[in-house]
């Protein structure tokens, strides 16, 4: 009964979304402006209906109702409760429902939060959001109904991939979804601005707010996903340039560019058309990611089972939304203004250049992600574009971005003079040289990485030290410092890393990073729904217990790496299956890698702090 109510709620939400999309044109055609007043109510009701639908699906998983097909396929009575709940979005139908529910929720919040926007803008934004929701809900109902029943109901479920039974994985998809769906708000604002022909008061501030919300969640979601891969997959890596990872990175890069570009427009020192384009592209990359994961065109550890009808439907949805938006941009983009009253050497100039570089980097990631599809279509066989391509292209592009980041924030808005900045640029250069000198102990790449990280940190210190920052300034400082910390972590974890692998008998040892690691013991340990082979790998001051877990349903083994984290770095051990000749032991040393997680947390927190900043009324007046 609750399950049927869930389906009903989805259909109701779809009807409300259609109402929300059509009320504004209908009000104009019928000459009854009062009709448009229904829009915010429809948006709020749609959000509530979708929350109810999501709750119904979670309920079916919690009580293990195997008469629901997706519960049977993805859950099991023997699973811990946390993973029963997270199984609700661990498959195509459920994750799509979550996606749709978040889209509705953002619509409801936009309706609720007026943010000083004129009604003409607010209602248009909501109408666009209604249209987006309607498309996604049609996709849910027509091709991917999560409330489908099975007759007769099986007694037990097919379990869940044990790889997915990890707290990091239970929470990283919802966080990423909040982020990638969150960029839809900026998209709706962009379409509404093109529709109206102008941005109007409050537009830039609202876009920056919603994009920052999405960015905070995207940052946290990507970091959590990487931390999961690092801990769980047992390869000692944290980023693999997998197509689906790239699908989260592209909206993140675009949202980063948008947050910075829209600041210029807010201060009347930016190019409106560029900001609108970034907003359209940001959500486009989110949709592209959704398409790549769900259409079955790419193989990935993240991909859901392919179904041609679903693939075609989502291709149509992607083409209609993004293509429609870009047609509108081409037809009406000239109406938007450009405040090009700023000099190349100015804060606005640096921001614009940086956002262009970020979008170019996004384009490179996009090329590397879809190139295998192009190659296969052209009959060049199956090609995979891996880390070497991205390292050689994206990394060099990021160097000027980071250089601009060191001194950009301390520049004046309209026009600046490098001579004025010279003393501070000197300090930044000094920090860069110091960092570089430390890095040279290892490799030139380490020198570049540490040099840039030190320069960014120095820039933040100089900016904060000069005068007491506003709350938003403080948020930015924390986020930028977090980036420097993360950059140091990435550099240390890759350039200073050491590893060793050996097949060891119990009592044998292997040498890595100046220490001997001994395989002290190997034994079998029962877990709640698996049997673990647990080893103890010891070195002076270090005691690690990596495991291999053998699950029963479905029969699958997973590797549980043991990681010891300190401020200075990670020591990481993984074992292979024990054989009579011994057990394969791999030891990785990843200096500074924990800084990456700390830095990502600082970036999210800094963004969150900037969100809470209120503008003083006088300043608000000045900027509008």
């Amino acid at each position: 009964m609750i399950v049927e109510a869930g389906l009903f709620a989805v259909i109701l939400a779809g009807v409300l979304a259609a109402l929300q999309a059509l009320a504004l044109p209908a009000a104009r055609l019928a000459g009854r402006p009062a009709l448009a007043g229904l829009i915010p109510a429809a948006a709020a009701a749609q959000a509530l209906a979708m929350l109810a639908a999501m709750a119904a699906l979670v309920y079916a998983f919690v009580v293990s109702d195997f008469s629901v097909r997706v519960v049977f396929e993805n859950s099991h009575t023997a699973k811990p409760m946390l993973y029963k709940v997270s199984a609700a979005w661990g498959h195509h139908e459920g994750s799509l429902l979550l996606w749709a529910a978040l889209l509705s929720l953002f619509g409801g919040l936009t309706a609720f939060w007026r943010q000083g926007l004129p009604a003409a803008m607010r209602l248009r934004v909501l109408a666009v959001q209604g249209l987006l929701s309607f498309g996604v809900l049609a996709y849910v109902v027509l091709t991917s109904n999560p409330f489908d029943r099975l007759l007769p109901a099986p007694f037990e479920g097919r379990g869940l991939n044990p790889l997915l039974q990890d707290p990091g994985l239970a929470f990283h998809p919802p966080l990423l979804y909040v982020g990638s769906v969150g960029v839809s708000v900026a998209f709706a604002f962009a379409i509404a601005a093109l529709w109206r022909g102008e941005l109007g008061p409050g537009w830039a501030r609202a876009v920056r707010f919603w994009t920052l919300v999405a960015w905070v969640f995207l940052t946290a979601g990507i970091a959590l996903g990487s931390a999961w891969a690092y801990a769980e997959l047992g390869w000692g890596g944290w980023w693999f340039w997998d197509p689906v990872e790239n699908s989260a990175l592209m909206p993140w890069l675009t949202a980063t560019a948008l947050i910075h570009a829209v600041r210029g427009v807010e201060r009347k020192g930016g190019v409106e058309g560029w900001v609108v384009l970034l907003a359209i592209l940001g959500f486009g990359f989110s949709l592209l990611g959704m398409f790549l994961v769900r259409s079955g065109v790419l193989t990935s550890v993240h991909a859901f089972a392919a179904d041609p009808l679903r693939g075609l439907f989502i291709l149509g949805l992607f083409a209609a939304i993004e293509g429609g938006a870009l047609v509108l941009y081409a037809l009406r983009g000239h109406r938007l203004r450009s405040h090009v009253a700023f000099a190349p050497v100015s804060r606005d100039g640096a921001l614009l250049l940086n956002t262009v570089l970020l979008l170019v980097a996004t384009g490179v990631v996009l090329f590397g992600t879809v190139y295998p599809l192009l190659a296969e279509s052209l009959g060049l066989g199956r090609i995979s574009v891996g880390a070497p391509f991205f390292d050689a292209t994206v990394m060099p592009l990021m160097v000027p971005v980071v250089v601009l980041m060191t001194f950009g924030p301390m520049m004046k808005a309209g026009r600046d003079d490098l001579r004025r900045l010279a003393p501070r640029l000197g300090w930044i250069a000094l920090a860069a040289l110091a960092g570089g000198a430390v890095g040279m102990i290892w490799t030139w790449k380490a020198a570049v990485g540490f040099g840039l990280a030190a320069a960014v940190a120095a820039g933040v210190a100089l900016a904060v030290g000069r005068r007491r920052p506003t709350r938003r300034g403080l948020g930015m400082a924390i986020a930028h410092l977090g980036f420097a910390v993360a950059l140091a972590g990435i550099t240390g974890g890759s350039q200073l890393a050491a590893e060793a692998i050996a097949r060891l008998p119990v009592g044998g040892s292997v040498h890595a990073g100046g220490r001997d690691f001994t395989l002290a013991e190997v034994r079998e340990v029962p877990g709640p729904n698996y049997i673990a082979t647990r080893a103890r790998v010891t070195a002076p001051g270090i005691d690690l217990t990596p495991e291999i877990r053998a699950y029963e349903t479905p029969p699958q083994t997973t590797t549980e790496a043991a990681v010891r984290s300190t401020l200075l770095g990670d020591t990481y051990a993984v074992i292979g299956d024990p054989t009579p000749e011994g057990t394969v032991v791999r030891v990785f040393l990843k200096p500074l890698l924990p800084w990456l997680w700390a830095g990502a947390a600082m970036m999210s927190l800094g963004g969150g702090l900037a969100l809470t900043a209120r503008m003083s009324p006088s300043r608000r007046r000045r900027e509008e």
Partner: protein
């Protein structure tokens, strides 16, 4: 800004759509199993019924299906009727993977037994050599002892009718 520039993003998008759209509904060529064309890895397993062993060397000179299953495997229930149908014209050998013999016997007694013989692989000895990652999985082995085809997942009536039965007939 010149108007034509505003069309550039749309043009780039159209190109992207052409690239990704072209692949929809065209599943990637399945990664060929490294075993296909190679001799079936040798195994010797205790028989489920009676004394003696199930040896891979015993099938030499005949085309057989080797099916990996278990009473714990829900997908195997789905596949079972197809195997019962296939057993009318083909020789099927089962490998009961990580299963207690009494459970396997009860499962086969309830659903019917399509297998000429069943080997018990309680500790995944043979299954690891065969490169099996999950049940069910089916190998088509030719009279020369080489793997002609490997199916990962459920054998549907369509796969049996369109791929495996014609293949077996061509091997005989």
């Amino acid at each position: 800004m010149r108007r034509w520039r505003l069309w550039l993003p749309l043009a780039a998008f159209a190109a992207l759509l052409a690239v990704v759209g072209f692949r929809v509904g065209k599943p990637e060529a399945p990664l060929p199993s490294p075993l296909v064309g190679k001799p079936l890895p040798a195994f010797s397993l205790p028989l489920l019924e009676g004394e003696g062993r199930l040896n891979s060397a015993d099938f030499a000179g005949r085309a057989v299906l080797v099916n990996v299953f278990g009473s714990w495997c829900v997908a195997c229930v789905e596949e079972h009727p197809v195997l019962l149908e296939a057993a009318r014209s083909a020789e099927i050998v089962g490998i009961a993977w990580r299963d207690k013999p009494e459970d396997t016997r009860a499962w086969l007694a309830k659903r019917g037994n399509p297998y000429r013989a069943v080997g018990v692989d309680a500790d995944s000895r043979a299954v690891l050599d065969l490169g099996v990652t999950g049940a069910p999985e089916t190998f088509v082995v030719g009279p020369d002892g080489r793997v002609a085809f490997k199916l990962t997942g459920v054998m549907t009536p369509e796969i049996w009718r369109d791929r495996i039965r014609p293949l077996l007939e061509s091997l005989k």
